[in-house]
Amino acid sequence: MESGGHSMNRVTITAHDVAKDFNRRQIFRDISFSLSLPSSLAITGKNGAGKSTLSKILAGLIGSTRGSITYTLNDKQVGIEKFKHSIGFVSPYLNLYDEFTALENLQLLSRIRATTQQNEGRMKDLLSLVNLWQRRDDLVGTFSSGMKQRLKYAFALLHNPNVLILDEPTSSLDEEGIEFVQRIVRQQKEEGVLIVATNDKEEAGWCAKEIHVGMPER
């Protein structure tokens, strides 16, 4: 249905003793795990514990201070630049362009990604899924925060990613929005790798495994 079937790549993500410092202060350390599809992992912890930071590190958007992340694609180890195209990421730190319409955002970004063909049909499916097809020609700048969050899902799923990382998955979403997120989550954890960063017990419960980040109180 909505996600149009995953491409059949075998992927794994492995974290080896990952640690991150900001301003010489350790945010977290000794994060190690290995995920291969199908699997799901919840990243939990208090506000400021480093959930968003760890999800950005996993998506290859920022580096770790120590330790490393390795990715394999069809049993071959690949660098992040190659693996990036297998990752979909929804995050409060990942905004879309205000001066373009919803549809233009998807078109421009997938053209920059340049790995898959422009697929107008898929864009229509996804925009309908997140209930924005009627508003496809409106500027994103005029969207409410919930609508922007919906559009981020369409962007994240556009290229059929094997790995889906969701940071605060339901922030600003209404009931109907939460419902479609749950549908996406259900499908993703059966067919691919799902990582959810959240401090909500229920959302953490979507995942089979859980990892807790943060440093013990001093």
Partner: protein
């Protein structure tokens, strides 16, 4: 480091005494007499202080660039401490070189600033140091500060070779050795000196370089302690 400290003190003291006390005579006979250079006279003594100070300011930049490069390779913040300590020291020497140079220029060429190639070069180095520290103070986290200031230092270093080619083409030189001699208008000095002056000059270069190494060491140790303390404060 103790050895560096005492050696630098001894050498610089020697240069101060020798550079100021050795008389200048029209026809030098012994080792302890310098020739009078027409037009410069006693003002020539500045070469024992001004040129080594200017050299040290360049050295400070090169060392900062080197440690900045090492930071980018390793992401070890201790290299940033070394890099910024060196840049701070280099900037201080750069100011000293500018001041000693322009006072000397006032007496010799009649005005404090003449846009001679070497004056221009030291001015640009001063601008680079200023920009480097302005950038550092505008960055939020220690990691970003270390990373971006290292990048900037390397970019600035990339432009250095251009000055050596461009200066002589664009501006006429005034520095000693420049008149009718194109080599004098490059940013790098070419020296024609009698052996005893040359000896004092090179002792001074070594002395100031050692002084730089010792001061850098002190600064790095102080900066490390400061960071240890600020971590404890958290």
């Amino acid at each position: 480091m103790k050895a560096v400290k005492y050696l630098s003190i001894i050498l610089v003291t020697f240069v101060i005494i020798a550079g100021i006390a050795i008389p200048m005579v029209p026809e030098p006979q012994s080792l302890f007499e310098f020739p009078i250079i027409p037009g410069l006279e006693d003002k020539a003594r500045n070469i024992f202080f001004h040129v080594p100070v200017a050299w040290t300011s360049v050295l400070g930049f090169l060392v900062a660039l080197y440690y900045g490069f090492k930071y980018l390779r390793t992401k070890n913040l201790d290299y940033d401490i070394q890099s910024v300590s060196s840049a701070g020291l280099g900037m201080m020497f750069c100011l000293l070189a500018t001041v000693t140079g322009s006072i000397w220029a006032k007496f010799n060429w009649g005005s404090f600033w003449n846009w001679d190639p070497r004056e221009t070069s030291i001015f640009i180095l001063l601008l680079i140091y200023g920009a480097y520290f302005a950038l550092r103070s505008a960055l939020g986290s220690d990691e970003a500060r270390a990373r971006l200031s290292a990048v900037y230092a390397i970019l600035a270093g990339l432009t250095a070779p251009f000055f050596i080619f461009i200066m002589p083409r664009i501006v006429g030189g005034l520095h000693p050795g420049a008149k009718g001699d194109t080599s004098g208008s490059t940013p790098v000095a070419q020296l024609h000196m009698p052996p005893n002056m040359r000896f004092v000059f090179f002792v001074s270069l070594i002395g100031f370089s050692l002084l730089f190494i010792w001061l850098l060491n002190v600064r790095i140790r102080a900066a490390r302690v400061e960071h240890q303390l600020s971590i404890k404060d958290h």
